[in-house]
């Protein structure tokens, strides 16, 4: 680019500056509008959760603020319904599922990325084709399998079908394959076993991908609803999604909406906190995977 075209370009951009400002006002208004749409439900649940029962029900038309906030609803949420139990169950389910899955997919991805054996490519193609199978198609038999094994209302029954993810194996395999071969051969010369190499060298190098996969799985587990609903009907094994549904239909005598909102806030906070902590990891992870649709 020579100097004359440079000045020409600058001139043009200067004249368009004023027009640009008007456009900016319009754009920001639009963006702010959608931001309000997104944030408002969160504001409303927070607001309702600190209104007292009588104050809430006294409002024929709901008010946008409260002058006498109370934490009573949060106490109710933990004492009247077993919200603590639901949270603990979800925590156990999430931790166990994620940990087991990480182990399974690390081993499989390593086999695909580094080990050479007959039939590797055929199996890999088969794995990839499994990505197209929708969950709705296999859940029926899984329900029958778990029921026949008398694993309903157990953590084992909840966890087992969610332990593998073909997509994450694929994602991790791609990352593993980027680790230079020379490292592997150097480790071999030193007499390091494959397993030791995998967990001492490969996994640490690929930690960013592992963390992203882990977080995405945690989000998925925390929000799991369909499978837990099919496989548990004992309140002692409810996860938060089923818990909130149970609270809605039977807890708090139906009309105690402030207490319900307190429960909703308690359930929403852990994931929101996780998101704010790992914002960039989660957003890049989601844009790469795009599983939730």
């Amino acid at each position: 680019m020579n100097t004359s075209s440079q000045t020409n370009y600058e001139q043009i951009s200067k004249t368009s500056a004023r027009q640009k400002r008007a456009v900016h006002v319009l754009v920001y208004t639009g963006l702010a509008l959608w931001a309000v749409m997104v944030l408002f439900p969160f504001y409303w649940m927070l607001l309702t959760s600190v209104k007292s029962y009588s104050a809430y029900n006294g409002e024929r038309f709901p008010r946008f603020y409260t002058l006498s906030p109370t934490l009573q609803n949060y106490a109710d949420a933990f004492t009247t319904v077993p919200l603590g139990r639901y949270l603990l169950n979800t925590l156990i389910f999430t931790a166990a599922t994620t940990a087991l899955m990480m182990l399974v997919i690390i081993l499989a991805a390593f086999a695909f990325a580094r080990l050479k054996f007959k039939g590797r490519n055929a199996v890999f193609t088969l794995f990839l084709s499994l990505m197209m199978i929708p969950n709705e198609l296999v859940v029926i038999t899984n329900f029958a399998t778990i029921t026949n094994l008398s694993l309903r209302n157990t953590f084992t029954g909840l966890i087992l079908p969610s332990v593998t993810s073909v997509f994450y194996i694929y994602l991790l395999k791609e990352n593993f394959a980027q680790v230079p071969d020379t490292l592997y051969y150097a480790a071999k010369v030193d007499g390091t076993s494959d397993l030791k190499y995998l967990f001492k060298v490969m996994a640490p190098i690929c930690k960013p991908t592992l963390v992203t996969i882990g977080i995405l799985k945690i989000i998925e587990c925390w929000n799991a609803y369909v499978w837990p609903r099919l496989i548990t009907d004992d309140e002692n094994y409810y996860l938060v999604s089923n818990g909130i549904q149970e609270i809605r239909e039977n807890g708090f005598g139906r009309e105690n909406i402030p207490a319900m909102m307190a429960a909703v806030v308690v359930i929403s906070v852990p994931l929101l906190a996780l998101f704010l902590l790992f914002r960039d990891k989660i957003m890049t992870g989601v844009s790469r995977s795009g599983t939730k649709g």
Partner: protein, 298 residues
């Protein structure tokens, strides 16, 4: 080599066991179920083999209602959400200050529990004996009459449903579209600006063709996702979706499998296969159209 062969399979063993037991076997089994007529869950017996299950499902008024609901949701939410997401993403890319903040806010629905937040939407839209709810308050301000969106007329329920679905799917679309727009080469824009091209023309002739693969991807995944709509409906209308008249195809599958009307894995399987065929057909049509359109752009 022999030793290595064994080792490779050993590393794959856990994944293969899980996939075999919970994906491959069920995939075959679901077709078996769907052809076993009068299958009984308790005694594990059936009368005959044939297409009766499919015919039963296709004649079941609940299934037809679910089919209608699902199609309406798909037809409404996919274009609307993609369109709004495109507008927002273009807006986001045009500004710099606060962009990060907006992006963070827009992503929030993705990391929320749909059952929990659905409850908030229900309360916002619901009309009870002693309170009209917030949305009705707004309607009053603009001089309209109040409507019960949760237990009222069909169009009102469908409106909340679609509104909530769009709210839920927006983060994913905005995220993908903004990164697609960001990856368009700046030189194209600069060249166009030197030529004095209008902003709208730049958008139509440069941005849109460059991000069209992402748009097609979003439309295709949007179709697939909307056809499998279920949890969001439960969040708004409760578990008895048939009574609310708001059941979806996936909801019908689960209701047949389990719940008050449950215990019929054969009907559930037939319905699931019908859903799969519908989704497959529409995805193929989408792919064909997108291929033709992309060729037109270049």
């Amino acid at each position: 080599m022999r030793k290595n062969n064994l080792k490779g399979w050993l590393y794959l063993l856990p994944a293969m066991l899980f996939l075999g037991a919970f994906m491959v076997y069920p995939l075959i089994d679901v077709f078996v179920y769907s052809f076993e007529e009068g299958y009984n869950f308790a005694s594990q017996t059936y009368f005959d083999i044939g297409f009766y299950n499919f015919s039963y499902v296709l004649h079941d008024t609940y299934f037809l209602q679910a089919l209608k609901n699902t199609f309406l949701m798909v037809v409404i939410t996919v274009p609307v959400s993609t369109g709004i997401a495109l507008l927002i993403s273009v807006g986001l890319s045009a500004v710099k200050p606060l962009r990060n903040l907006f992006q963070t806010i827009y992503f929030l629905p993705y990391v929320t529990n749909t059952l929990a937040v659905g409850l908030v939407f229900m309360i916002l839209f619901k009309k009870t004996a002693y309170s009209d709810g917030l949305v009705n308050l707004l309607i009053h301000w603009f001089g309209g009459a109040s409507v019960d969106f949760i237990e009222g007329p069909y169009w009102a329920k469908m409106f909340v449903m679609c509104f909530y679905i769009i709210w839920v799917v927006m983060p994913f679309k905005i995220l993908l579209l903004t990164s697609a727009i960001a990856s368009v080469d700046r030189n194209y824009y600069n060249a166009a600006r030197v030529d004095g091209t209008s902003a709208f023309r730049i958008f139509r002739k440069i941005t849109l063709p460059m991000i069209s693969p992402t748009i097609f991807y979003l439309v295709i995944t949007g179709f697939i996702g909307a056809f499998k709509e279920y949890s969001d409906a439960v969040a708004l209308f409760g578990t008895d979706l048939n009574a609310a008249g708001m059941n979806t195809i996936v909801g019908y599958v689960y209701d047949m499998l389990y719940g008050d009307s449950g215990g019929y894995p054969s009907y559930a399987s037939a319905a699931a296969i019908i859903l799969f065929v519908i989704v497959l057909t529409i995805t193929c049509i989408n792919l064909l159209i997108s291929r033709k359109l992309t060729r037109g752009f270049s």
